[in-house]
């Protein structure tokens, strides 16, 4: 899946099985390179988990997929449209076809839970059938979304600060799903949550995918989440540990192949063993 096309993609083509494609994506912050020549194709309806060590560029990669960060080099196609050449309004319209669940939920703390979930309906650039609804019907959708993420008893007038981490994550998920997006991006959806709440989040991700046929990309360190939710796993490796011509993607395949992968770097990560890293840190 990491093959690089030898011809440019025809952006006028009518249908492509891929919803998101990246081509030779590079990202540099100052002198530090974080992503190198990443070419990935993600099909409609696929759920992809991106795993890897902290600092290997997973979140940066996720943010470039919706244009929140602009790559230093290379390009991203969303539904065959190059994000880099879109006007501000077109980019906004494309983004409203996606949902983003942020690591710390990123709920607007000056708005109530209800207003947070309602926000995309009120302000999204795209004119979908949902954004055209009367306010009373939009609130009905909010109540339905809250129910779908398993928070039927939550008060919509509560503020995010009054909620637990798990509840905030679920409100973030409801906000991301309210516009019925085609693509949902999850940035570490289960980090900092207890195993039970983590599993609830995993189930919600799977249900939303089945119910709305959503394409999902999630960044996670949690191997249980990756194995349970994803049908494809991509593992990125930090560039400072790679030689110049090595691919940054060291694993790309279904979760079932992960155990049989012979790459020691992959095995070290999934086993969660520090190994020679302790010596590198001069701890031993």
């Amino acid at each position: 899946m990491t093959d690089v096309p030898n011809t440019m993609v025809d952006t006028n083509s009518t249908f492509s099985p891929n919803l998101v494609e990246t081509h030779e994506l590079n990202m540099r912050f100052g002198t530090k390179q974080v992503l190198r020549d990443l070419s990935v194709k993600i099909r409609h309806g696929q759920t992809v988990a991106i795993i890897g060590e902290s600092g290997c560029g997973k979140t940066v990669f996720l943010k470039t997929l919706v244009g929140l960060l602009q790559p230093t080099d290379g390009f991203v196609l969303f539904d065959q449209q190059d994000l880099a050449i879109q006007s501000e309004q077109d980019l906004a319209a494309l983004r409203s076809r996606t949902g983003f669940v942020f690591q710390n939920s990123a709920l607007f703390d000056s708005l109530t839970v209800g207003e947070n979930i309602l926000f995309p309906l009120m302000h999204a650039s795209s004119k979908s059938s949902r954004t055209q609804l009367a306010p009373a019907d939009q609130w009905q959708l909010v109540r339905q979304a809250v129910k779908e993420v398993g928070l039927p008893k939550i008060s919509l007038t509560q503020y995010p600060a009054d909620l637990s981490g798990g509840m905030r994550k679920r409100v973030g998920l409801a906000r991301a799903l309210i516009l019925q997006p085609e693509l949902v991006l999850y940035d570490e959806p289960t980090t900092g949550l207890d195993p039970i709440v983590s599993d609830i989040i995993n189930e919600l991700i799977m249900r939303s995918r089945l119910k709305h046929r959503i394409t999902s990309i999630l960044v996670t360190h949690d191997m249980k989440t990756a194995r349970k939710v994803a049908d494809r796993i991509l593992m990125l490796y930090p560039l400072e540990r790679l030689n110049e011509h090595e691919s940054q993607i060291i694993f790309d395949g279904p979760p079932s192949e992960l155990e049989h992968c012979t790459d020691p770097r992959v095995q070290q990560f999934i086993q969660g063993e520090a190994g020679n890293r302790l010596q590198e840190l001069d701890i031993i």
Partner: protein
């Protein structure tokens, strides 16, 4: 809107124990200052383009107007009143030496409407509202709320910055008038009730020396100050570095930069308006 890369400050990655030479440090500072000036200019252009292309977000505007206007009125009024009194205290001794204490009102009121009213109102606004704006937007940046806006197809400059700039522009003249009014009241109260200066003479001389143009000068200056406070504060908040320290630094930088720019603009706009005044009215008589 593409968010600023997280590693926006390359100096952070420099090893702590490696001290750069003085020349290197000066060059780095200059480089950083040039970058900020250029980036701030682009930020202003983005604000202008959103002002001209889309309608104002009413909800954010009303909240900002309440913060800037209503909540600042008491502190601006109080500051103005004390400054009027202080001016009366300080000028009385000098004026009484030459037997002209009845003319104190002219000096106090002229100083207030042309200089101290607008500058003090703006300084209070920069301290009370500017820092809060920078801290609020900085927190939104750090907690990815600005990214969340972007991800939903909502432009954060249009949504967060433009209403604040409008609110500051609209309300700072009113705050300035409030500071002027309370200063005049405070100066008069102290002069009349404590220093026993005749009220009629106090206001008679004031009306001879303080013209409508003086009041207008203060109001025009305040518009520049308001725009400067809102733009600078939003800029530093928008480009806040990560962590509590990053947000704190953004709030401090917003106040310090706004304050320096208020004083610089006070000089530049003051000179420009005076030149304009004498260009249209060489004799120097009152235009209003």
């Amino acid at each position: 809107m593409v968010s600023t890369p997280e590693i926006s400050n390359p100096s952070e990655s420099v090893e702590l124990n490696k001290q750069p030479s003085l020349l290197t440090a000066v060059v780095q500072r200059l480089d950083r200052a040039t970058f900020v000036v250029g980036d701030l200019t682009l930020f202003v252009f983005q604000i202008l383009s959103w002002i001209s292309s889309r309608k104002l977000r009413r909800g954010t505007f009303i909240k900002a107007a309440y913060q800037i206007g209503v909540l600042s009125l008491p502190v601006v009024g109080l500051t103005g009143m004390f400054i009027g009194m202080v001016l009366a205290v300080q000028s009385f001794f000098q004026f009484s030496q030459i037997g002209m204490e009845s003319r104190m009102g002219a000096v106090i009121n002229l100083t207030l409407v042309r200089e101290l009213g607008p500058v003090l109102a703006a300084t209070m606004l920069a301290g009370r509202v500017g820092s809060a704006m920078a801290a609020e937007l900085g927190t939104m940046r750090v907690t990815e709320q600005i990214d969340a806006l972007n991800s939903m197809g909502v432009n954060p400059i249009h949504f967060l910055v433009v209403p604040r700039v409008f609110a500051a522009l609209l309300l700072i003249p009113i705050l300035t008038l409030m500071a002027d009014f309370m200063g005049i009241l405070g100066g008069f109260a102290y002069s009349h009730y404590i220093l026993h200066i005749d009220a009629h003479q106090y206001f008679e001389f004031s009306s001879q020396y303080v013209t409508g143009f003086d009041l207008l000068t203060g109001i025009i200056k305040s518009l520049f100050f308001g725009a400067c406070i809102a733009i600078v504060s939003c800029y530093f908040g928008f480009h806040s570095n990560r962590g509590a320290q990053g947000v704190g630094n953004a709030a401090t930088a917003a106040f310090v930069t706004s304050f320096v720019m208020i004083l610089a603009m006070d000089l530049i706009v003051g000179i420009s308006l005076d030149k304009l005044y004498y260009y249209f009215n060489p004799a120097g008589a009152s235009l209003f």
